[in-house]
């Protein structure tokens, strides 16, 4: 892998970020480092999510910030903890999230920004949930999720806005 190939990958992700910002109502991506092309992004999700401070009541929130980082080894190795981080709030309530660490399931080395954003979105909106308590990062959230399966997904809106197909409209 040459640096030029990785740089080309990062440039493609920069373009993907611009397209996602144009096509999505649920996420806004900002480069998180001064480099060009950027190797990290802050993804601001605007969707219903759950949070719960220790000993406090469960509350619904609608803005979550996730950090996305492409290491120089990203095309060879994928490690969720090295790639994704909950930035705010730190008390998200989800079986797959504890503090700044989240588990979004399998993503291959070379996973694109869009693939990562989609998988994070599915976790935040409870479309992707670990129901096995021994695997879950947040055991309390896992117990709650098992008892409240009828309440999710918290949002079933698609990540990208659906485009109207005028050619299929009735005359």
């Amino acid at each position: 892998m040459t640096d030029a190939v990785f740089e080309a990958f990062l440039r493609a992700q920069g373009e993907a970020a611009r397209q996602l910002n144009a096509q999505c109502d649920t996420v806004v991506l900002h480069p998180a480092d001064p480099l060009t092309p950027a190797a990290s992004y802050v993804a601001q999700f605007r969707c219903p999510c759950l949070a719960k401070a220790s000993g406090a009541e469960l509350r619904e929130i609608d803005v979550v910030e996730i950090g996305i980082r492409f290491t120089t080894q990203h095309l060879r190795v994928f490690d969720t903890v090295r790639a994704l981080q909950v930035l705010a709030p730190r008390d998200l309530f989800h079986p797959n999230i504890i503090g700044p660490v989240m588990c979004v399931g399998h993503l291959a080395p070379g996973a694109t920004l869009e693939e990562m954003v989609l998988q994070v979105y599915e976790v935040l909106t409870y479309q992707r949930v670990t129901m096995n308590e021994t695997d879950a990062l947040n055991h309390e959230a896992c117990r709650w999720a098992r008892a409240n399966q009828g309440r999710f997904p918290l949002s079933s809106l698609p990540l990208k806005r659906r485009r109207v197909r005028f050619d299929e409209c009735p005359a």
Binding site: R69, P100, D135
Partner: protein, 353 residues
């Protein structure tokens, strides 16, 4: 006489290969790496005895190798957790691993250090034993040159919610492991004798079908590995951060096979512990509050540390050891507009020599 490293020393291939490697006339020292302990189920597939069950695989094999009259050093850790420079003095690295992610890590190490890699494997279902030889060179193939996109998708991953990636047992019979071990030793001996013609070769024996295949892999231009071999200089481990920055006019510091973390988070209670330290492999210690596993989140990890900005204050007089670096670690220093320099950290004893 040569030192050879055997990575994945205790398994279906490694347990047979260790004594065979020790009996090569060119070998006077073996470095044995394997994190596992022998289980009763290993008795049928590996070259061990009932008294070995419950003991660290590398300890058992080190005793066996030393009885042959060859010096052995045992490392009961995953290869990802060991400093890369431990293998810099090896004439060859022999591998009998059961994970492609570990193979990928060893491939990177071998290439950076300029050490030939001999990698063996088995396929129990087809009764195949395989050995590949990779010799770091300007145009030679590495392990990943033969990997497809699917191979990368199937790479084992450490998930925070499931802990260590589970490895499926090869379930290969002992004779197949012994066959792969014999091929591993034969090719390692050829490498030790300086046979450059081995580079990129793969030899497969189909024991069930009585067939053999001899293939040569070429360097693939689209390979995801950069194939950089490094020129490595020594540096005392006791060097302070400030002196390092001054000596090499270094602006940034990186560690081969590891990263720096500015904070660790507990995967059980969510507690965050601040402070700069080196993190390597998946093991990052335990939380002092709840003894849960610690992990360094993405934005608190740094592939390289900007020396001036990060370390000028609190860490200026700290040594590299204070950051968690150990003898054998290979650090890369780089200043703007200058080529990278690679330095292997040496402890006091090595320094006196």
């Amino acid at each position: 006489m040569a030192t050879v490293a055997l990575i994945g020393a205790g398994g279906n291939i490694g347990s047979h290969a260790a004594p065979l490697l020790a009996r090569l006339p060119e070998v006077d020292e073996l470095l044995l790496v394997d994190p596992d302990v022998y289980a009763a189920s290993n008795l049928r597939t590996q070259a061990i005895e009932p008294g070995d069950v419950g003991r660290a695989k590398v300890e058992v094999l080190a005793e066996r190798v030393q009885r042959i009259g060859v010096h052995a050093r045992a490392f009961a850790e995953p290869i990802e957790g060991l400093p890369a420079g431990r293998f810099g003095g090896c004439a060859a690295i022999a591998a009998g691993l059961d994970r492609n992610s570990a193979r990928q890590h060893v491939n990177s190490l071998a290439w950076r250090l300029g050490v030939p890699l001999v990698d063996a494997g088995v396929d129990a279902g087809s009764a195949l034993a395989r050995v590949n030889v990779y010799v770091p060179g300007a145009d030679d193939a590495c392990l990943e040159c033969a990997w497809s996109d699917e191979d990368y998708v199937r790479l084992e991953q450490v998930m925070p919610c499931r802990g260590e990636a589970s490895v499926t047992a090869t379930n290969a019979p002992a004779h197949l492991g012994a066959l792969a071990a014999s091929l591993l030793c034969a090719e390692t001996e050829a490498v030790l004798r300086g046979n450059r013609d081995m580079a990129g070769r793969q030899f497969i024996v189909g024991a069930g079908l009585h067939v053999a295949f001899d293939t040569r892999y070429a360097r693939r231009s689209g390979c995801r590995f950069d194939h950089h071999a490094w020129c490595i200089e020594p540096l005392p481990l006791a060097t302070s951060i400030g002196r390092l920055a001054m000596l090499f006019e270094a602006a940034a510091l990186a560690v081969l096979g590891a990263e720096f973390a500015s904070a660790l988070a507990c995967l059980d209670c969510g507690r965050v512990v601040e402070g700069v330290r080196v993190v390597r492999g998946a093991a990052m210690g335990r939380c002092t509050t709840c003894s849960g596993r610690l992990a360094a989140p993405a934005f608190d990890r740094h592939e390289s540390l900007p020396l001036a900005a990060t370390l000028a204050g609190v860490y200026r007089d700290a040594s590299l050891a204070d950051l968690g670096l150990v003898a054998g670690d290979i650090v890369t220093v780089q200043a703007a507009g200058t080529p990278e320099r690679h330095l292997q950290l040496i402890g006091e004893e090595e320094n006196e020599q």
